[in-house]
């Protein structure tokens, strides 16, 4: 068993990066992820990693440097948040389109304007369509564990796509909790040696990255990308199984909490899921059949499996800590797609919460579950999309 320590989410991720010992890290500081690279810099300074740490002048440059290093044949990692990810956006597509398995820690933070440094999922959801594998984490332990798994999934020879591991800014990145580490040699064996595919540094086999592809072939490239990321679903499960063997901690495509016979289900991502589980317990104690689904793999999205897990629910409340203004929240759209595609038609409501780091309290979950109970009784929902805890 690995050692147990009380540590912040950022420190846990930095520790994971230290154990991975990537070839290159290029980064630019931004709250609340700054601490990850700062701690990592001290590992570089202490000589405990062999990483080339590149400190650049912007996130656009950071992702560009990661792309260059990855194409050259290195194992590459970075970390960012919010506007940093937003500024990387065009490069995120380059990394994915070139099939470069870069791993990134995204410490979720709200987007400007107005400026806000606290946690919500607007940044991650805003890069939903960039063809990065996205794995969300409830707490520091999950973030730590997910980083190793993300590296494995991204680098899998049938996938070769970049991956980001998300955790909630401040709520997780800056709060201390007790978690368990893996011994270094276990990590080393688990992630294995990095085998570059078509590296630029293989001078005997010259390759070209990024040539022009016009209408004659572009769509074929994009379909190939879709097929590749879809394969990540199976690989995620395979990697999770292997991870369980070395860690004793089990992961899936999502977490099902008291869902089996649930007539009422809620879907909650990341840290708020921890809060909501307690509330689910309280309702269960009262004999109300409520369950919770906490998505983990958001891209690719496991539609069939999610629909299956939510199958018994007649009423579903989907919580979104991000918004798609003028539309439903991004998680709601996925859950709705999953249910429709599976041919079931539960009543589904969407509740936007916690934007800009507004606290998500047990009472918030309670109020929504109460509403869901009412909907289950009447079969009717009055408002599909609503914001909770808003001062009017």
């Amino acid at each position: 068993m690995g050692k147990k320590l009380a540590i912040t989410g950022n420190q846990a991720v930095a520790e994971a990066m230290k154990q991975i010992n990537p070839d290159v890290c290029a980064a630019y500081p931004i709250t609340p992820s700054t601490e990850i690279m700062q701690r990592f810099a001290s590992f570089v300074s202490d000589g405990v990693v062999d990483t080339e740490l590149v400190t650049v002048e912007s996130e656009h440059s950071a992702m560009s440097a990661c792309i260059g290093a990855s194409a050259a044949g290195g194992r590459v990692m970075t970390a960012t948040s919010s506007q940093g990810l937003a500024l990387m956006w065009e490069m995120l597509h380059i990394a994915a389109g070139m099939r470069l398995p870069i791993a990134m820690a995204l410490v979720n933070r709200a987007l400007s304007a107005p400026i806000n440094i606290h946690g919500d999922h607007s940044d991650g959801m805003g890069s939903r369509d960039c063809s990065w594998i996205q794995i969300y984490s409830e707490n520091a332990q999950e973030a730590y564990d997910n980083i190793f798994q993300a590296v494995r999934i991204a680098e899998h020879e049938e996938i070769r796509l970049p991956a980001m591991v998300c955790m909630d800014g401040f709520i997780i990145s800056h709060s201390i909790e007790s978690m368990e580490f893996l011994p270094d040699e276990v990590v080393r064996d688990f992630i294995g040696e990095f085998k570059p595919t078509n590296p630029l540094l293989d001078v005997d086999k010259p390759v070209t990255y990024g040539p022009l592809v016009l209408p004659d072939y572009y769509i074929e490239f994009k379909k190939a990308q879709h097929e590749a990321i879809k394969r990540a679903k199976k690989v995620t499960l395979d990697v999770a199984k292997e991870f369980e063997k070395v860690s004793g901690r089990s992961y899936g495509l999502f977490e099902s909490y008291r869902l089996d016979d649930a007539e009422i289900a809620i879907v909650v991502l990341n840290s708020a899921a921890g809060t909501a589980k307690d509330v689910v317990d309280a309702f269960r104690d009262k004999g109300i059949k409520v369950g919770l689904l906490k998505p983990r793999l958001f891209r690719p999205f496991p539609y069939e499996e999610v629909a299956d897990a939510l199958g018994s629910a007649r009423v579903i409340g989907v919580f979104d800590r991000a918004d798609s203004f003028g539309g439903f929240g991004p998680m709601y759209m996925e859950i709705a797609s999953a249910m429709i595609a599976s041919g079931s038609s539960p009543v589904m409501i969407n509740r936007i919460y916690g934007l800009g780091g507004r606290d998500f309290m047990p009472e918030d979950a309670e109020a929504v579950i109460k509403e869901l109970v009412e909907i289950a009784d009447t079969g009717k929902a009055t408002t599909l999309k609503e914001y909770i805890g808003v001062r009017e």
Binding site: P29, I30, M37, Q38, A41, S42, E57, Q83, A113, I115
Partner: protein, 283 residues
């Protein structure tokens, strides 16, 4: 009569002793001395400790994104070139993340006054090397010392034929007030790089460090002589010149855009715009 108290804003959340305090105070005084009213000026900033300055002033303010101060200020100025526009930025903001914008603002000669609070560090994110951090200076993310040569903003400005390039020091507010006023009165883009001790995260370039090195350029320095200005701009080390390093007279961006040359865009009553006359303005 306008007084600096008219610009009084919220209480700053800077560290005690921060070089930003004298810069803020001096800016308010300079504006009062020029008889500019709070509603008669716009202060634009990005993100950083320096960029918080507009929060602490009472006037038109715009707080945008890290690095993007100058493009926004350019837009504001072109919409209303009757109103003076000050862009406030940190060294990281303006020389790093948004460095490209500086080049083009100087090249276009947009009539915006850029005041850079140059503390030679990223203050807000707690002490990483900025483009003006001196080579070899150790920070938390540059454990082996900053690997790159520091950017020399004044040499860059002279090379770009920037129409006004000056250096001030937060510890010499008398000169700083004069430089701010000169920049505001100058016709064209003005870069005022202000050396600003960061008492928390820059333990190298302290008040003492600057105090021992800065000196006011003498009356003998001719800021209109570009080669001489370049020579002055290159001085950095044991002696650091402050004052107006370089200035020239060339048309501003607003003067080069025929449709707004005579009347600011906001003052143009839409109904009165005759499309034919407007088109003629382009030829």
């Amino acid at each position: 009569m306008v007084t600096s108290r008219d610009f009084e804003g919220r209480t700053p959340a800077w560290c005690p002793g921060c070089g930003n305090f004298p810069i803020l105070k001096t800016l308010k005084e300079a504006l009062a001395e020029l008889d500019i009213e709070p509603h008669g000026i716009t202060v634009v900033s990005g993100i950083g400790q320096a960029a918080k300055l507009p929060h602490y002033m009472r006037c038109h303010t715009f707080n945008g994104l890290h690095g993007r101060t100058l493009p926004v200020a350019t837009g504001i100025r072109l919409a209303n070139h009757a109103m003076p526009v000050i862009a406030v930025a940190g060294d990281g903001d303006c020389y790093g993340e948004g460095g490209n914008h500086l080049i083009h603002a100087a090249r276009r000669n947009v009539n915006v006054k850029l005041f850079v609070h140059d503390n030679q560090v990223y203050g807000l994110t707690k002490g990483q090397a900025s483009p003006t951090t001196m080579e070899g200076v150790v920070t938390k993310t540059q454990p082996f010392g900053s690997l790159s040569e520091a950017l020399n903003p004044l040499a860059l400005a002279v090379a770009l034929d920037c129409s006004f390039a000056a250096r001030g020091y937060a510890g010499d507010t008398e000169q700083l007030r004069h430089l701010m006023k000169e920049a505001l009165l100058h016709k064209g883009f003005a870069l005022l790089d202000i050396l600003q001790p960061c008492v928390t995260f820059n333990r190298v370039n302290t008040y003492q460090w600057y105090g021992e090195r800065v000196y006011r350029v003498s009356g003998g320095h001719d800021p209109t002589d570009r080669i001489e200005a370049f020579r002055k701009a290159l001085e950095w080390g044991d002696r650091i010149p402050t004052g107006i390093i370089y200035r020239n007279v060339r048309p501003t961006l607003e003067e080069r855009i025929p449709v707004i040359r005579d009347v600011p865009l906001v003052a143009m009553p839409q109904a009165q715009v005759d499309p034919d006359r407007l088109m003629q303005g382009f030829y």
